[in-house]
């Protein structure tokens, strides 16, 4: 009989011990389990107690209220909504309004942030001081104050509907918002859209083909005439065949306000401007830090290759800076999304305003509604950071780090 190989210890148990117990070993695991049990017991106790007490005090509980009709109105809805719809619909309206202002805000905050950062790093004295002034002025004032400033300043400056500022009688500007002609789809709309989509897809394919040709074989192909034909030419041809793809419904002054046309409400404008300019100041500093973290030899290498400053930044410096920029940038995106709940101060119907505000006080079901609202913010934040993590991971991979 040979010596039997010693059985390897159980992998799973070992892993568990390391994860839960750390250096304390099995004792640590035991402590963790006891702690976990106590925590679970407390949670159970809190929930069951709250439930019985709600019952004895006859406070309505549960999520049944979501099926009840809300019977109040909301002034900006991305999905059809009227007072006879349910609280669940109100919830969706609120979520969409919050997402809308967050997405638009994030877009502009990023653009403004990058521009300001580049200004601040510019060798031009005036431009760099203007960038610095922007950052210092904006990031040192409270956000709520800025949003109120935009709202009340924008409102105070704009005229009443009957004295609207009109731009070629198509776009109207007044204290009720910006009114633009709203597009109405015509029979030619579908072919137009199909051809346009095809054109864009074909152009993208062409672009990646040209890129590959350039990088692999060193052939530079001029593609812009083809792209122009594909994206503008062909869709124009369809309009000749099928007629205009869309017509416009023109806004007209009727009674107190304009009827017809689409309207962007001032609350949305004020909130978006406030959020994006404020967050942009922080993003600018993050971008500046990122760019400065790239060794200045990279910049010099670019210039010695004969690249312009812009091209060096775009092709060499910014891609390397992104690695440093992305994690704190994610923070700013999350902040912007959460800050959008300041909307209630200026009457923009976001989730906190219509759901955690109006719906809460109409139904009185604070626990359920606050839990749902927190859930939405948590989920949005987690998704945002997941997307940014993936982006950061791809970036690292492409830089070979």
């Amino acid at each position: 009989m040979g010596v039997e190989a010693r059985k390897p210890p159980l992998q799973f148990a070992l892993k568990l011990r390391r994860a839960l117990g750390g250096k304390a070993g099995w004792n640590g695991v035991a402590v963790q389990l006891v702690f976990g049990t106590i925590l679970a017991w407390m949670a159970y106790e809190i929930i069951s107690n709250a439930r019985t007490n709600l019952e004895t005090q006859h406070i309505a509980a549960g999520f049944g209220f979501l099926q009840n009709s809300a019977s109040f109105d909301v002034n900006q809805t991305l999905i059809p909504y009227s007072g006879s719809d349910t609280y669940f619909r109100v919830f969706l309206v609120g979520v969409l309004n919050t997402l809308l202002v967050s997405v638009v805000g994030i877009f502009f905050a990023t653009v403004i942030g990058f521009v300001v950062a580049l200004c601040r790093l510019s060798p031009n004295w005036l431009v760099s001081r203007v960038g610095g002034l922007y950052v210092e002025a904006i990031r040192n004032l409270p956000l709520l104050f800025q949003i109120l400033f935009w709202y009340l300043a924008v409102l105070a400056a704009l005229p009443a509907p009957r004295q609207s500022i009109s731009i070629f009688n198509t776009v109207f500007l007044n204290n009720r918002g910006v009114i633009v002609p709203s597009p109405l789809a015509q029979p030619g709309f579908v072919p137009f859209l199909v051809v346009l989509t095809l054109g864009i897809v074909a152009s993208l394919a062409l672009h990646s083909y040209a890129r590959r040709a350039l990088f692999a074989e060193g052939r530079a192909i001029r593609i812009w005439p083809y792209v122009l034909t594909l994206i503008i030419g062909l869709p124009l041809v369809t309009t000749l065949v099928f007629g205009m793809p869309i017509t416009f419904e023109w806004p007209q002054l009727k009674g107190f306000n304009f009827a017809g046309g689409a309207r962007i409400i001032p609350e949305f404008v004020a909130l978006t401007v406030g959020l994006s300019t404020y967050t942009a100041a922080f993003i600018a500093e993050i971008v500046r830090a990122g760019i400065l973290s790239v060794h200045k030899g990279q910049m010099e290498a670019g210039s010695s290759l004969g690249l312009s400053r812009g091209a060096t930044l775009r092709l060499i410096v910014v891609p390397q800076a992104m690695r440093v920029i992305v994690p704190p940038l994610t923070n700013q995106y999350l902040n912007l999304t959460k800050n959008s709940s300041l909307a209630v101060a200026i009457g923009y119907p976001d989730l906190v305003s219509v759901f955690a505000g109006t719906s809460l006080s109409q139904t009185g079901q604070a626990i359920e509604i606050i839990a749902m609202t927190m859930g939405v913010y948590l989920l949005t934040s987690l998704i945002t950071s997941a997307v940014m993590s993936i982006y950061g991971w791809r970036l690292n991979r492409s830089l070979g780090a």
Partner: protein, 338 residues
């Protein structure tokens, strides 16, 4: 705003999970030596603080009357200013003992909030305010108007009902507090500001040029405003309910802040009963015999409180109207104290 709601909700969850409903509000208040009373964040005539932080208003006087009856001291009150949407959570969580904050009595609030209305302090109705320059004479001419409103109120619901019933379009802009709504109205964002009509008169005083604005004649809803207490403590419910009734009864019997001591010496059976020189009605409520005397000495009878805060003796100058005594063609009516 959000943070307040969140904190209150957490307090609510914690309070509810701590122990069974506390059925001893009266004892708690006496032990604490302080009545905690939920009021508005500033509605002239109903509850608003002056520049020294003293609260005045008819809702505040209800708090004072309760404090007088229970603690015999009208200064032992902690006023908790609450926004429309935080008020019920504050009551449910036990942060306040009574909510006296121009709150409309509706069946859904009475049944689903774990709280009860104890009576009606003020019979109100919803109205509209517009700028005179718009030359609007009736609420029916408001088609396509923009309307500013405070969020979380019955006002918001009545508004939706009214415009729908009359087949008119409108745009609603809902603000967290009444001040924000008023500011937006004044800056021209809205054509119309809507609120309970007493609130409209009170808010109009805050505008730069009150005379440039008119309140339209239509009253589109019934808004009986009254105090609220938590479910599960009938004694406390009775005390708050009868405090208000005592004020109304005092007016009916002609008992005023000035003559209350004299009246107490009267030997009319009804006065003796009400003012506690005969019988033990106050003790049955868990109070003292002289509870009505304390109340009237503190805030006067209902009519005096009305005049001082919203009526002829106040800047609001609202007429008694339906808030008059039932004997004078109004709706204020107290069941007999006997």
């Amino acid at each position: 705003m959000k943070r307040v709601t969140l904190a209150l909700s957490l307090a609510l969850a914690a309070g509810l999970s701590a122990q069974a409903a506390d059925a001893q509000t009266l004892k708690t208040i006496k032990d604490r030596g302080m009545l905690s009373c939920g009021v508005s964040q500033g509605l002239p005539g109903f509850s608003s603080p002056d520049d020294k932080g003293n609260w005045t208003g008819i809702d505040v006087d209800v708090c004072r009357a309760i404090a007088a009856a229970v603690l015999n001291d009208t200064t032992k009150i902690k006023f908790v200013p609450l926004s429309a949407k935080d008020r019920f959570t504050a009551l449910q969580s036990g942060e306040i003992d009574v909510l006296s904050r121009n709150t409309t009595w509706t069946v859904s609030r009475d049944t689903s909030l774990g709280a009860n209305f104890t009576g009606v302090t003020y019979y109100d109705g919803q109205g509209f305010m517009v700028k005179k320059s718009l030359k609007v004479n009736s609420a029916l001419e408001l088609n396509s108007a923009s309307v500013c409103v405070q969020t979380g109120t019955t006002t918001e619901l009545n508004l939706a009902d009214y415009f729908k019933a009359n087949n008119m379009k409108y745009e609603v802009i809902a603000f967290g507090t009444i001040d924000e709504a008023i500011k937006a109205y004044e800056s021209g964002r809205c054509d119309v500001f809507t609120d309970d009509s007493s609130g409209l008169y009170a808010s109009r005083l805050k505008l730069t040029n009150p005379a440039d604005h008119i309140v339209l004649p239509e009253i589109i809803s019934k808004e009986p405003l009254g105090p609220m207490v938590r479910h599960g403590d009938d004694q406390w419910f009775d005390i708050v309910k009868w405090t208000l009734f005592a004020m109304v009864t005092a007016e009916e019997l002609g008992i005023t802040q000035k003559n209350v001591d004299e009246m107490a010496k009267s030997d009319k059976p009804e006065l003796k009963r009400v003012l506690g020189t005969d019988g033990n009605l106050g003790e049955q409520l868990g109070l003292t015999k002289d509870w009505v005397i304390r109340i009237v000495k503190a805030v006067g009878n209902y009519g005096e409180a009305f005049d001082r805060n919203v009526g002829a003796g106040s800047p609001l100058k609202i007429s008694r109207g339906i808030n008059n005594l039932w004997t004078k063609g109004g709706l204020q009516y107290a069941p007999p104290i006997r």
